[in-house]
C-alpha cells in the first residue's frame, strides 16, 4: 500500500536562509498527522512544496492524487457565491459530483443554507469553512490543511474537528498544520514537530506524552515528587506513611502535548 504522502530529504533554501533542512515524512492512507512547530519553523513551506506551490531545493515528494489543499492565507472571489466557488473547483479538478457533491460538502462544513451567499457577504470563519469544502472537492485521498482553524470560533473549531473525524472514517489522509495543540491531541494519529527546518520529534501523541511526577495529597497539603512515575507510587506512599504522614490521595502527573512541544522546541534551541 503506497503512502498518501512520502517526503524524503526535503530541503528548501531562500537565498541564504535554509527553511527546510532534510525533512523526511510519510503519511499512510487514512492517517491524520499533526504538523507542529513555532512560527518560521518551515511548516507552511513543507505544505506548499507538497502541493506544488513552492519548488524544493532538494529531496523528493510523492503525493497521492487527487489531493486537496487549504492555504493558510487564501481568498475566493467576493463576487462568487459559495456554490459557484465549488463549481469552479469541480470543473478544475474534473469532478463529476455535480450539485449533489456541492450540497454534501456545504452540509459537511455547516454552510448548507449558504449555497447562494456571496463570498464577500461571508464572515472569515464561513470563508474558512468554504475553503475546507473546496479542498474536499473531487474526493481527495490526501488533504493538506495549513492552519484551517485560524479564523474560527470555538464552534467552528468543533466543526473542523468533527470533519477531521469524518475524513478519518472515509480513509482520507490529512496533514494538519496548526498551532492548536488541543486539536492535534484530540484528532491526530501522529504528531510531527519541526523546528528550524528539521523534524525534532515524531510519534503518537500518547507516546510523546511522558510521566513528569507524582502528586500526593497530605494533611499538610499537596506535595509533588518531580520525575517520579507510576511505578514509584507504592514506594512513595510507603515512605510517607512510614514517616508518619497521612495520605489522602495520589495522582500520577503526565506531561501534556504542550509540555512536550515546548520542551522539544526549547531543547532543539
Amino acid at each position: 500500500m503506497s503512502p498518501a504522502l512520502a517526503i524524503a530529504g526535503l530541503r528548501k533554501r531562500y537565498g541564504r536562509h535554509e527553511a527546510l533542512r532534510g525533512v523526511d515524512l510519510e503519511i499512510g492512507e487514512g492517517e491524520l498527522v499533526g504538523l507542529l512547530g513555532p512560527n518560521g519553523a518551515g511548516k507552511s513551506t513543507l505544505t506548499k512544496i507538497a502541493c506544488g506551490l513552492v519548488r524544493p531545493s532538494a529531496g523528493t515528494v510523492q503525493v497521492a492524487q487527487p489531493f486537496g489543499y487549504l492555504a493558510e492565507l487564501f481568498r475566493f472571489p467576493g463576487w462568487c457565491t459559495a456554490d459557484e466557488v465549488l463549481l469552479l473547483h469541480q470543473r478544475l479538478s474534473g469532478s463529476d459530483g455535480g450539485a449533489r457533491e456541492r450540497g454534501e460538502l456545504l452540509e459537511l462544513v455547516r454552510l448548507e443554507g449558504d449555497a447562494g451567499t456571496h463570498v464577500e457577504a461571508m464572515s472569515k470563519g464561513m470563508q474558512q469553512r468554504l475553503g475546507l469544502a473546496q479542498a474536499m472537492i473531487g474526493g481527495p485521498k490526501l488533504l493538506l490543511l495549513d492552519e484551517p482553524t485560524s479564523a474560527l470560533d470555538p464552534g467552528g473549531r468543533r466543526t473542523v474537528r468533527d470533519l477531521l473525524e469524518e475524513l478519518r472514517r472515509r480513509g482520507v489522509a490529512v496533514l494538519l498544520n496548526t498551532h492548536l495543540l488541543s486539536e492535534v491531541e484530540h484528532v491526530c494519529d501522529r504528531v510531527v514537530i519541526i523546528d528550524r527546518g528539521e523534524v525534532v520529534a515524531a510519534g503518537a501523541p500518547a507516546d510523546l506524552e511522558r510521566g513528569s511526577g507524582v502528586e500526593v495529597e497530605l494533611a499538610s497539603g499537596l506535595r509533588t515528587i518531580d520525575g517520579a512515575t507510576r511505578d514509584d507510587v507504592p514506594r512513595i506512599v510507603a515512605d510517607l506513611v512510614a514517616a508518619g504522614e497521612q495520605v489522602y490521595g495520589v495522582r500520577v502527573v503526565r506531561s501534556t502535548l504542550e509540555d512536550v512541544y515546548l520542551g522539544t522546541v526549547a531543547d532543539a534551541r
Binding site: K48, C51, G52, L53, V54, R55, Q65, P66, F67, Y69, L70, A71, L73, F74, R75, F76, P77, W79, L88, H89, R91, L92, S93, G94, G131, Q134
Partner: protein
C-alpha cells in the same frame, strides 16, 4: 472543458459580474454619442473649404483626422481594459491569496496564464474593433469618408491591444497589480511618444529621431501596429491633405515594412512563453 477555457470563462465572468464591462459599455456609448455629434459638426463646417484654391481635400483631411483620433482613443481604452484584466493575474492574485487554490488543481500554470490571456485578448481586441468600426461607420455615414483599408487597419489596431495584454501578463509575474498597471500605461505612453518623435523626425527630417522611433517600434510593436494602422487609413488621401494626415493628430503614420506582422506574432509568442517560464519557476 479544458483548463484554459475554464480559467478564461472565470475571468470573463469576473469582468461581467464586477461590472467592468458594463462601465466600459456605458462610457463607450457616451464616447460614441459625442463622436457622432462632433463628426456631424465637423463635416457641417467643411463648407468653408469648398472653394479652396490650394487643392486641399478637406473632407478626407477631416475624416482621416477624426477616425485617427477614434483609433487612438479606442486603442488607449483597449490598453486600459487589457491592463486591467491582466495586471494582477499572477503576483497580485498570489498576494491576495486568490491564485493558490486554483493552481494546486490539475491545471498547469501555463494553462492558467493562457486562460487569463485569452479572456483579456478577446475582450480588449473586441472592444478596440467595436470602437474602431463604430467610428468608421459614423464617419462614413455622416461625412462620406471611408478609410482605404478599413479591415487591415482594424486588424492591426486589435493586434496592438492583444500585444499589450500579453505584455501585461508577463509583467504580472514579476510585479504587483498597481506597479504592473502603471508600467503598462507608461510603456503605452512611451510608445506613443516615440511615434510622435518619429513623425517629427520624418517631417524635419532627422535621422536620430527616426532611429529612436524605429527602435521603439520594434521593442514595443503595438506602437508600430498603431502607426501602420494609421498608414493604411490615410495612404490613399492625395495631395496636401495626404501630407497633413500622414503626420497624424496623435502619432504619424509609418510603414514598418513586411516584417511587422511576423515580428508581432513572434513577439506575442515570446512574451507568453517568457511569462509561462517565469511563472513556472516562481514560488507562491
Amino acid at each position: 472543458m479544458n483548463g484554459v477555457s475554464i480559467v478564461a470563462r472565470h475571468a470573463l465572468q469576473e469582468a461581467l459580474r464586477r461590472r467592468v464591462l458594463l462601465v466600459v459599455l456605458v462610457l463607450t456609448v457616451v464616447f460614441g454619442g459625442l463622436y457622432a455629434w462632433g463628426c456631424d459638426e465637423l463635416f457641417k463646417d467643411l463648407s468653408g473649404f469648398d472653394n479652396d484654391s490650394s487643392g486641399l481635400d478637406a473632407r478626407s483631411l477631416a475624416g482621416a483626422t477624426i477616425v485617427g483620433l477614434a483609433m487612438f482613443g479606442g486603442l488607449f481604452l483597449g490598453t486600459v481594459l487589457a491592463t486591467f484584466l491582466t495586471a494582477g493575474a499572477v503576483r497580485g492574485d498570489a498576494e491576495r491569496g486568490l491564485l493558490q487554490p486554483l493552481v494546486v488543481r490539475p491545471l498547469t500554470r501555463t494553462q492558467y496564464l493562457l486562460g487569463r490571456f485569452v479572456a483579456a485578448a478577446v475582450v480588449s481586441a473586441a472592444y478596440v474593433l467595436v470602437v474602431y468600426f463604430g467610428a468608421v461607420l459614423v464617419t462614413g455615414s455622416i461625412g462620406h469618408f471611408w478609410p482605404a483599408h478599413p479591415f487591415a487597419s482594424g486588424f492591426r489596431l486589435a493586434g496592438g491591444a492583444v500585444l499589450i495584454a500579453a505584455l501585461s501578463l508577463l509583467g504580472s509575474v514579476f510585479l504587483g497589480a498597481t506597479a504592473n498597471g502603471a508600467l503598462m500605461l507608461m510603456a503605452y505612453g512611451m510608445g506613443l511618444l516615440a511615434g510622435l518623435l518619429g513623425a517629427i523626425g520624418d517631417a524635419i527630417p532627422s535621422p536620430t529621431l527616426q532611429h529612436i522611433a524605429s527602435t521603439a517600434s520594434w521593442v514595443l510593436p503595438f506602437e508600430a501596429l498603431y502607426r501602420d494602422a494609421l498608414r493604411l487609413l490615410v495612404q490613399d488621401v492625395p495631395g496636401v491633405a495626404g501630407a497633413i494626415v500622414q503626420l497624424g493628430p496623435l502619432g504619424g503614420s509609418h510603414d514598418a515594412g513586411p516584417l511587422l506582422i511576423p515580428w508581432a506574432i513572434v513577439y506575442l509568442i515570446g512574451a507568453l512563453a517568457a511569462a509561462a517560464w517565469a511563472f513556472g519557476r516562481r514560488d507562491l
